[in-house]
Symmetry: C2
Subunit: 330 residues, 2 copies
């Protein structure tokens, strides 16, 4: 498997050097692997810190900036960052108003963020945590007890980020983040496996002519394999899986997310089918985002995330954001 | 080859339906295949129209909006749009101030935009044209007499778009577009071929362990094939190829562009090497853009584009833009 890299060992450090060069508005600590918005800590503002294995870009480092994350900690590819990164990030962004850790539900991430919270509190930083576990495909999985955290992470980081930006206190930002997670559900499909630099070959075998329904963002197994389906059939399957688990009365935010290698042309076509399926089920879409936001290296496929929003969540979603991966209003 | 589509015949129409659903700020005419900013025509403003084969998204439809294109005409995948689309687009955006056609240098596009210009002028629309031909890899290629138009299209559309937005007259917008093209050079590499929906199999054969140096955005042959190189070696090759053809005295805009299937993690690492190579050659980088902007469906690989800018071009590049694919300042 060919990759645009030097050696597998330096992939994350090389990417961070490239981020530093491209984004002078961020402070990128390549050695310690922490990406921080340049003006942190912002007086009176709650800090938002997330992180996880690399390979899901722009998540999380690409979501650092005004209106979203204060800092991100990238781990090795598909590997949790270590507590030391998280404590550094918390210390860099804490203004005294406390820090919210946004944690995708993978065993390694949960353990390390827990440990980091204790260490940071020992240093006098007030820490709150929210777990993201939106993937309805399976309960318990490779790397996860309970549901996996996937696309909803973007909505949690965006909405909690907007609340923090306008000066809301830690308990309120935490409650909003929790509400967003509880209001969100996701379902993903893979048309191909992904290849990590360290392994150099696909992380799982997906026979020609089959797709994986309910795949995780590291290529974890989903619900079932089937013979290849049309965009229309996949959209119906994903929307049904999500709506079996939630009954939105309010409009939803819709994320039609590419896994990495699926062309934008196909993602937009898939969006047309997802919107049709939602309309048929009586679900109104308030805002739509189509693109590669929570990726799995070079995996082909897509995921659908719905987040039910009231007027306040929608207002916070629409609030200005200025990050490498998501930007509007400024 | 698995794709997230219904049938090959409807790929472009399906994508346009999906764009319409995701972007209420655009008017998407699915039947006639024209994407127009909703507030067009804008009184007193020069219209900017571009287009080309589909499969390069977000180019061009994703660059429609305030500060960039007024309208885009998507053809079938890797196939020129027809003159009728271009005339419709021109009529939709002309406020009386005239329309600039931005044309990538491919024989079909050039012929069809020429014909459209005549037809539009017959309807009383003043038309100017600028040809984009920035790819230094080869002279004459599959589909092209002369150099191919690739990554510089983004800079031409952005900078001419800013000039039009602030009310500059047609001859000035045209002159700026020409200056941007003349100040830009690109070079691309492929690590894998791409697959069009109609063909369903890779458009060319690239043996395992080899890469194509100087590839075009439709998979056209480049300068040579070599055994796979490191990111550092590829960056040196691309930067040298470009700087053999230009000697920037001013700072440059840098686009490190993904061909579609190369993970953002790798693109950022590649950016680090490109920036190193430029520094070694004494070239200063004023702004950097890293991501999938001028893609080739699911091709793996990347391209480098440099655009030498004076203060005025940099000011126009920095001006606000609000499109699905490029957005800042608003």
């Amino acid at each position: 498997m060919k990759m645009l890299i030097n050696v597998a060992e330096s992939v994350v450090a090389d990417a961070l050097r490239g981020m530093a060069a491209a984004h002078p508005e961020l402070t990128v600590d390549v050695e310690n692997r922490v990406v921080v918005r340049r003006d942190a800590p912002v007086a009176g503002k709650v800090g938002l810190v997330s992180g996880g294995g690399s390979g899901h870009e722009p998540l999380h480092g690409g979501f650092v900036g005004p209106g979203m994350l204060s800092a991100a900690c990238p781990g090795e590819v598909f590997t949790s960052p270590v507590p030391d990164q998280m404590v550094r990030a918390a210390a860099a962004v804490d203004s005294g108003a406390g820090v919210l850790f946004i944690v995708k539900n993978y065993t390694g991430d949960v353990l390390n963020f827990d440990m980091a919270a204790e260490l940071a509190e020992d240093e006098g930083i007030r820490i709150a945590k929210v777990l993201v576990d939106d993937d309805v495909a399976v309960t318990d999985s490779l790397y996860t007890a309970g549901r996996r955290g996937t696309g909803a992470t973007l909505f949690v980081e965006k909405i909690a980020g907007a609340a923090a930006e306008e000066g809301q206190p830690l308990d309120q930002v935490e409650a909003l983040a929790r509400q967003v997670n509880e209001s969100s559900r996701s379902f993903g499909v893979a048309l191909s496996a992904c290849t990590t630099p360290a392994k150099g070959s696909p992380t799982f075998d997906l026979p020609a002519g089959e797709l994986e329904l309910g795949v995780g963002i590291h290529g974890e197994p989903g619900r079932e394999r089937r013979a290849m389906m049309t965009s229309r059939e996949i959209a119906d399957f994903a929307v049904n899986a999500i709506l079996d688990d939630m009954s939105p009365r309010n409009p939803v935010l819709l994320l039609v997310n590419g896994m990495g290698a699926t062309p934008l042309l196909e993602l937009y076509g898939f969006n047309a089918e997802v919107q049709r399926a939602l309309t048929e089920r009586g679900v109104a879409v308030a805002r739509t985002l189509v693109g590669n936001y929570v990726t799995s290296l070079d995996m082909a496929g897509a995921s659908v995330t719905l987040c039910q929003v009231d007027e306040e969540l929608l207002r916070l979603y629409d609030a200005p954001v200025r990050t490498p991966g998501l930007r509007w209003g400024v």
